[in-house]
Symmetry: C2
Subunit: 279 residues, 2 copies
C-alpha cells in the first residue's frame, strides 16, 4: 500500500518521517509543485520518489493533502473526481469552506477532514522533524460523513503519529482554532511589526530582548504563504476574535491611561486564570 | 561579607541560589514583609536567615532590592538614609522614577541601578531556580553615577551570575524594556482575557490549544503585584507602545476585513524580519 503526500513541508514532511519509522506504507510518494521542495524532500530522504499529482493519485491508496488551505480548496474536488476507492485526507487548518466545496461530491465518503494541532513557526521540507505530532491532538471534522473504511485508514495513521483524537463539526472547529491558534499568530505578527518599526529610530532595542519577548513573538516567523489563506478561509471568525482581542488591549490601555491601577490589577489577575489551562 | 536580599521571590531567590553555589558571601540574609515568603525562603534553604530590614541593612555590606518596583521606589531613599558605606543595588524593571527619587541623595554614589533581563512567568520563593541569569543581559543604568568601588561590587555579582552587561541611560532603558518586555506581557494578558471570555460560551475551546497558543499566552500567568507597578512606573512609554501595537493589529484587521490578501501577505512577510533578531 502506497501513500502520497501532497505538499512536503513542515506538516507533510513530518508525517513522512514518522510513517517511514513505522513502515506503515510500502512507498511514500511526494507531490509538490515547488521544484526546490521536490529536490529537498528527496535529499532529506523524506519520500521515496516525487511524482506529478495525477500519477501519485493513481499509485497511492491514501492521498494526504498538506498544502496551504487555499490549495486544498482547489485540489480536494479535483482529486475526488479522479479517485476510485482511494482515501483522501486533508490536514488543513480551516474546514468550513473546504467541506462545503465537496459536500455534494459523489465521492464525499472517501474524504476525511483532519487537523493535527501541531506545528512550529518554520516551514518547508527542512522544517520537518520527528515526533512533531506525538501526544498532540488530531481533530476530525464531520467524521460521520466519511466511509467507515476510509475513516479507519485515516485513524490508523493518527495512531502511527501517536496522537489523541477529538471530533467536531466544521463550525466548532473553525471558531475554536480562531481562538487558540489563528489569533496567536496575528498577535505575534503585530508585535513583530510594532517592535521592528521602533528599531528604526532606536537601534539598540533588541539588546534587551529576553525569553518573554521571544516567546510572544516567535510565531511571527511563520510563513505568509501558509497563513494568509488560513485567515482568508476563516475570515469571519478571525475578525471576531481579533476585534475582541483589540477590545481587551484597549481595556488594559484605558485602565493605565486613567491611572486606575486597581482596575488594571484586577484585569491582570483575571487573566491569570489561564493557569487553569496551561501548566 | 554579608549580603541582604530584599524580596525573596523569583529574582531575589534565584540570585540567592547562585550566590550560595559560588560562596561569594559569608551569609545571605533574606528580607521579606510577607511571612509566608519568609518561611518558604528558609525551608527552601535560599537564605541563611531572615531579618527585619533595619537589622539586615546593619549586618550586610551589600543590599539587593528585588521587590516590585513601587516598593523599590519607597525603599531606595530610606535605605540610603540608613547606610554608611554599604552598596545598594536595585534589580527593578523600570528606572526613570526610581533614579529621580534618589538623584540628589548624598549617598547616591552607593547606589547601583541594574536590571537583569531574565525571568519566568512564575513568582514567589518557590519560583526561584538555578541558572536563571546565565548568559542573559544585566543592564546597568546611569552607572557613571555610582562610586567605582560600589559599581565593582555589583559587577562582581553580575559575573557570579554569569551574565553579560550593557550600559544605558534611564530613558533608553525604560523605552526599550517597554518594547521588548512590557508589551509582551500586555499582549499575553489581553490574549488570555479574550480566550477565557470565549470559553464561557464555548466550553471545549482549550482542547485544541497547542504550543503556539501556549507560547503567546504563557506570560499571562505573571504576577499582577509585580506587573501593575511596572506599568505604572513606565506608564507613558507603555501607553505609546500599546497604542502602536493596537494600530498594527488594526492594520492586519483592516486588510482582512477589506479582503486585501495581497496587503495582508505583505504585512506578514514584513513581520517575518523578526527572524533577524530571534533564532
Amino acid at each position: 500500500m502506497n501513500i502520497a503526500i501532497v505538499g512536503i513541508g513542515l506538516i507533510g514532511g513530518s508525517i513522512a518521517i514518522r510513517l517511514r519509522e513505522t513502515k506503515t506504507f510500502d512507498k511514500i510518494i511526494g507531490v509538490d509543485k515547488n521544484e526546490n521542495n521536490q529536490k529537498k524532500a528527496l535529499q532529506l530522504n523524506l519520500v521515496d520518489e516525487v511524482l506529478p499529482l495525477d500519477e501519485a493519485v493513481q499509485q497511492a491508496k491514501v492521498i494526504v493533502l498538506c498544502t496551504p488551505v487555499d490549495v486544498i480548496m482547489k485540489l480536494a474536488p479535483t482529486i475526488l473526481d479522479k479517485i476510485d476507492d482511494q482515501v483522501v485526507i486533508d490536514m488543513g487548518s480551516t474546514k468550513i469552506n473546504i467541506l462545503q466545496k465537496i459536500a455534494d461530491h459523489p465521492k464525499r465518503g472517501r474524504y476525511v477532514a483532519a487537523h493535527p494541532m501541531a506545528g512550529t513557526e518554520y516551514s518547508g521540507p527542512e522544517a520537518a522533524i520527528p515526533n512533531l505530532f506525538k501526544d498532540k491532538v488530531m481533530v476530525y471534522v464531520e467524521a460521520f460523513k466519511s466511509d467507515e473504511d476510509a475513516f479507519d485508514i485515516a485513524d490508523a495513521i493518527t495512531d502511527q503519529l501517536e496522537m489523541k483524537s477529538v471530533f467536531m463539526n466544521a463550525e466548532e472547529h473553525d471558531i475554536h482554532t480562531a481562538y487558540v491558534s489563528h489569533i496567536s499568530h496575528l498577535t505575534s505578527f503585530a508585535l513583530a511589526l510594532t517592535v521592528l518599526e521602533k528599531e528604526k529610530s532606536q537601534g539598540r532595542i533588541f539588546e534587551l530582548a529576553g525569553s518573554g519577548f521571544e516567546s510572544t513573538v516567535r510565531l511571527a516567523k511563520s510563513s505568509p504563504d501558509m497563513w494568509t489563506p488560513i485567515f482568508k478561509q476563516n475570515r469571519s471568525n478571525v475578525l471576531e476574535v481579533l476585534e475582541e482581542h483589540i477590545k481587551q488591549l484597549q481595556k488594559l490601555h484605558d485602565k493605565l491611561q486613567d491611572e486606575d491601577y486597581e482596575g488594571l490589577h484586577k484585569l491582570i489577575k483575571k487573566s491569570n486564570k489561564i493557569k487553569r489551562i496551561i501548566k
